[in-house]
Every structure is written in C-alpha cells, then in structure tokens.
Subunit: 257 residues, 2 copies
Amino acid sequence: MRISRRHPISLRAVDGREIVVHNRVGPVKLVVVTTERPSTRVSRLREKQRTDRAGLDDLLDSTPLATVALIRDGHPVAFPTGFARVGDELVIHGSTGSPWMRALGAGAQAAVSVTALDGVMVARSGFESSFHYRSATLFGAFNVVPDAEKNRYLEALTDAFIPGRVAELRSSTTRELAASLALRLPIGADNWSLKVSAGWPEDAESDVAGGAWAGVVPLTVSYGTPQRAPDCDPAIPVPASVQGMAGPLRNVAPPLR
Amino acid sequence: MRISRRHPISLRAVDGREIVVHNRVGPVKLVVVTTERPSTRVSRLREKQRTDRAGLDDLLDSTPLATVALIRDGHPVAFPTGFARVGDELVIHGSTGSPWMRALGAGAQAAVSVTALDGVMVARSGFESSFHYRSATLFGAFNVVPDAEKNRYLEALTDAFIPGRVAELRSSTTRELAASLALRLPIGADNWSLKVSAGWPEDAESDVAGGAWAGVVPLTVSYGTPQRAPDCDPAIPVPASVQGMAGPLRNVAPPLR
C-alpha cells in the first residue's frame, strides 16, 4: 500500500493487519496495535486446553518464573522475571529504572507465559514423542501498584519466593520502596489460556505391536541444600524460612497483609 | 497524527515509533515493525551480561524449553516450545497447521527466551533477595528447514530430548514428515544476549551486622523414575536412551547426520 496524498490510510485497510507503506527509501511495515486481546482459544491440540481457574492457579503457584513478551520499537521482546499470583492478580516487580518495566507500567500490552515442564513423553516414534507440560499465557496490560500498597505487594512476592521470610527480616526502607516498581496484571475471566499435556503416548497400533518401549520420564524442579554466604557467621542458624525450602519448587504467595 | 489527504504519513514521522491515526470511528495506534534487531545490550544490572558464546551454549544445552514471542495482529503473543541448539542454529518444530509456527515460517520477527532458574538468593533484606539464573534472548526471523534436510533436523531434536532414541526407533514416515514444520534461527555474532546471576547476596554492612542468615538455595531440574505406559508390555526392557535420562536435565543435540 502506498501512502501518499492520493492514497491516505483508511481504517478498513489497516484494522488488525499488517500494512506496508512505501516512501523514498523503501518499504516500511506497519502493524496495527489493538487493545483487543488475542484469542485465548488454543489453536493446536485443542483437547489439551483447560478452562478451570483452579488449574491455572495450580500452575502459577508452582513456579516463580514468568516470561513477559511485549512490543518495543515495533519488535517483539521477551524477558524472564519472578512473579507471584496474589489472589486474582499476577504481580511482578523490578527497578524503576528498567526500560521494560517502565514500558509495562505505561500500559504496554503484554503476553505473560508461565510453563512447567513436567516430563518427557517417550513414544514409539519421534513424531508422537513430546513433553508433559502445563502452560499458561495471560494477556493484557499491567498497572502500577500505587505507593500506598507497594510494600504489601513486595512482601507478598518475597514470601512467595521464600515462604515466611518477611517475618524474619527488617522492614523495607523508604529508599528501597522508592527504587522498586510493582506491577499487577488482573487475572480475569477471559484473558488467559491454559494448556496441559499429561497422559500417555498415543501410538498407532502398528507401533505398539512393534515392541518399542513407551512411557514418561518425569521432570521435577527441587530445592537443594542451602549454601551459606561466605560473609554469614556460621553461628547464625539456618532460619525456618530456608529450612522450609525443601522438596519440589513452590511459589505460593500469602494473602496481602 | 491525523491521516488525511492533507496529512499523509511520512517516514520521518513513523520510523521506529508508535503513531496514532484517526479516522471517523476513533484513534488507531500503529507501530513500525522494523527488521532492525532490538539492542542486545542488557539494560539493567549490566555487570551480569555475558558475551561468551560458550556461556550461551551451556544454557541452551541445559533445557529444552524456549518461550517464543512474536507479534500477531498487533499484539505480543508468546508460546513455549521444545527446542535444540544444532550447531549455530536454534531449532524448533511443530505442526504445519499451527498458526504461530506458520507465522514464524513466513518470516515474522521473533524473540526467543530461554531461562534456567538455578537458585533462590536469600539476602538479609527483601530488596537484595533475588534468584540465581541464566537467561538468554535471541532475536531474528526463523527460516523453514527445507524438505531435504527436515528429517535430519527432526532427528536431532528427538535425540536432544531423548539422547540416543532415534537409533531405537523406526524411521519417520513420509506422512509424518509432511505434517511437521522445522524452523531454524541462526545464532549469530550479535543477535543474542545472555545474562547470568550467580554469586552471593551483596548486603550492606549494616544488614550483615544485623545477624540475619544469607545464602543461596539451589534449584535443580532432574529426571525422575521412568513410568511405563499402560499399553507397554512389561517384558519390554527399558531402553538405553531412557535409562540414560537420569540426574540433571540436559538438552544436547548430536551433530546432524
């Protein structure tokens, strides 16, 4: 599409689609940025889609790692960050100086991906082999947690990552709070999708008859033995919060204080 | 910016920035989609940036989980997928019917995020507490693996996920190959960034003197005990490939055959 006095952009031509404009130095691709959310209907292996909120919460409460995608200068970017589900909100935090956090705080549309890799599915063909996983994507715009609530949200994050730690620590300082940006994304009725792959390989009868082994090799993320920092006096006992970090990884935030 | 016969778009006005066009029904935000890559310079905690390719390979060879971000209909989307590093390429595969795979195959710009969560850093304040991680983002456009090479790439993926499995299996059928799309992203000199957080908490002296415990709780992803599928004859021994899946998760692809 050539943009000129004779060919102005019309909404019909650009809505929801990419367009290419030409000028003297060549083509430039434009894309319409809508505030409409992408479909939350799973497009492949639809039978794996789950719509129960309990299933979503189960995933979000099992790992602190989210990957946040947004558009910056017309290019998709993605960054990993720690998060916690606090009730009906997905909460992240970072430095007030982070360009990506600032873009999100300014209302950039985001896609947040959280995945638990639960196992390797070993089928009787390469084609049928895959993974056990639980995977959620949440869409929308974050909003900035107001100053009056910031401390409560940051404490919820700390206690999700290290359960019980807040009670063992000094309070955050005014300076620390001022340097932190907390953002929350509402978990609504229709802004997320959840896909769960579980069960057994579904090999064709001919492959089952072929006699190859089939099954699943589970994958688990586990806490290991706590390592004391070199500058931490050996006389200081390992606190209850750290002693509690054993077994499979968890990420359960307490209710806001 | 109003688009009309009197105010056509000029490249100077839109390059690398968002613009808003108005028509009769209201404003529409446009953003320029450049083929220029985002900066690979880490913007926060720059001292954690690593530029050695060996460090990147070490991360990519440790987990099969990548999160791929792209722009669809003007919105950022993200999806998790299995991947393998095959030499200087990051390879993914999926169904020829997957809309996202097709968009990538058609040249959509992508950001690929791979993260290993290596531990929880327990500092003497919530502010200094964080995670041990290794995180890479790769930028660019995937290209479609040609039919003549597809089988070799798919086999490399299978052998990365389940080392040695290809030799134990029948070959892929023509129908299976036709249903699969393999995509590769070049790992170049300047299209990736790597950020590594390791080491110990860096608490202020006053916090060290406060006597709180500090250290790191490691996180490890491990293979568990293989689970035989219900339709797998108990007389069939667990194959060498599955027996080899023990200890920490790995994702090392063999050289292409």
